[in-house]
Point group: C2
Chain length 361, copies 2
Amino acid sequence: VLLVSGGIGPTEDDLTRQALAAVMGEPLLPSSEWLAELEAFFRKVNRPMSPLNRVQAMIPRGARMIFNSAGTAAGIHETLSNGGRRCEVFVMPGVPKEMKIMFARDVLPRLTEIGAGAVILSRTLHTFGLGESAVAEKLGPLMTRGRNPSVGTTVSGGIVSLRINANFPSRARAASELEESEVACRRALGPLIFGQDDETLQGVLAKMVRDAGKTIATAESCTGGLLAKMLTDVPGSSAFFQQGWITYSNAAKTKLLSVPPALIEQHGAVSEPVAAAMATAAATLAGASFGIGISGIAGPDGGTPAKPVGTVCIALHVGARQSCAVRTFVLSGDREMIRDRSAKMALTLLRFDLLGQPLPF
Amino acid sequence: VLLVSGGIGPTEDDLTRQALAAVMGEPLLPSSEWLAELEAFFRKVNRPMSPLNRVQAMIPRGARMIFNSAGTAAGIHETLSNGGRRCEVFVMPGVPKEMKIMFARDVLPRLTEIGAGAVILSRTLHTFGLGESAVAEKLGPLMTRGRNPSVGTTVSGGIVSLRINANFPSRARAASELEESEVACRRALGPLIFGQDDETLQGVLAKMVRDAGKTIATAESCTGGLLAKMLTDVPGSSAFFQQGWITYSNAAKTKLLSVPPALIEQHGAVSEPVAAAMATAAATLAGASFGIGISGIAGPDGGTPAKPVGTVCIALHVGARQSCAVRTFVLSGDREMIRDRSAKMALTLLRFDLLGQPLPF
């Protein structure tokens, strides 16, 4: 099996379809089926179709066109034979989103048909809040090299993920071994694990909030809207999120959220009392079950010895208890990382409150 | 030269340092210099240092430790010799951010010393608003395959970028040829090009707004804070951005921004009059030079035949002219893409207003 990704765009340096046609010894012909799709697409978005786009409907004679539901380049599937050997060739777009959709929809089902022999089943578990070393330490011997199922960790955007791979001769055995290792990982990490596989922190949280029939309002300073953006990443977020404030300046904190200027003067804008006042005001003004307030120093400037860059105060106002919990973190990384981790930490504070569990760090 | 990225994390599956030590035939020893750095780092973030982190200070005896200013794994540099042949080996972290910083700071300067022969100079120009095919068409023969300097296009997050590579025997020739091709590309695309190389749309816009001494306020519905997040991506953004509103529900639009319920009822929340009312209210309430209002259907639900998913109304209120311009776009892609393109389109509307030029699409 040969999987090719990329080189089927409309420009002169896109040469994958030409290469496949050369190997097949066949000319490139337009797929009338895909041309019709393209024309309909450009009509829909009300833009003229460039002649270059017609190139994206060209496939070698005799090959199968693969429908692209997320872009303008058709995929190509061809079975090459040489003597007694066969090779299935799948050409997919290079744009990751388009490639993934095409792979899941068309290529993977065919690969499963072709496949035989050993079965590898995988599961990914996601955590947020502890570093990779601390997570690995909690997992202990589960991560021993050579173990089957294997357990490895990766980090992306502060999310430490565990990848469990079970490699066994039968599907049933692989499934039961995978299950057993997953249970062991979950026992070792407890509620630090927020989700698995394609689940996101915001997606998991959104479901919890919606299921609980609660609502959230946000008041952000250093994250500048990122927390609200994450909450509204989730389709249907209007069920639990109706409004938020971005109060970047001190004056805006006072004007929009009635944070007393004296409080800011006494403790500084980046302080637990100010974050708490923001959270409480957001919940109260919005009539929401929860209010989250974030104030911090994302840098690169603005740090002091007492409050270095990365200092972030996050407050969670819980309407039902009429109480507000505040935590201060010192996050590392650049501006983008500090803002991202601040928003994820805020989601995590709320998640543990909904779980009724203390934060494990 | 061998550049290795990754496998120097703290866990059992990180084996790059062991592999290099095996090739060198040397034991791994802790770098006392890096251990001291690590200890200082964990003191600063006030977390205990895991014994696993000590592994990240191990380097083969005789190799040079490369300072990692963005993470906990030390890089490694070693010159391998075999007979008369030498190979410079640089081991960098796998985390892209850490790798890039280490590459730029330590590895690249050494490669430049080592290098000789042909010179390749590159420039990347960024555009937003037109598709890849439309950009390619405007560039015409500049993109001909085999041309030197070569001009190719790539797309990432809706940003269509031109990469110009000039490959010539001397640096002077490469520089003058690169310059000439860049001028030709800029002539073909005009103000569609918003920046070059590492510049971002928000970074370029922030500089323009700051230089003009203007301020921006935002009122977002479907983008849910993403526009404000982009504006505050830029260090020092407090100079031009002080506050924003996220009015996700109709009630919030009315309560926070005084959008008349009758206007919403008559035209719908996703309509030019409502986006305009949001933009004007944001500018007025904040006392800002510009107000941006965004209302749209990010999907996957909520589309209608008249207003399909991807329909986004973006309004720009200009205080100095006491006028508000509104445009409706039908953007393609999934929820994440529609929200991202909406925010970038809003930045683009503002950019063209600051340039005093009409939008070229």
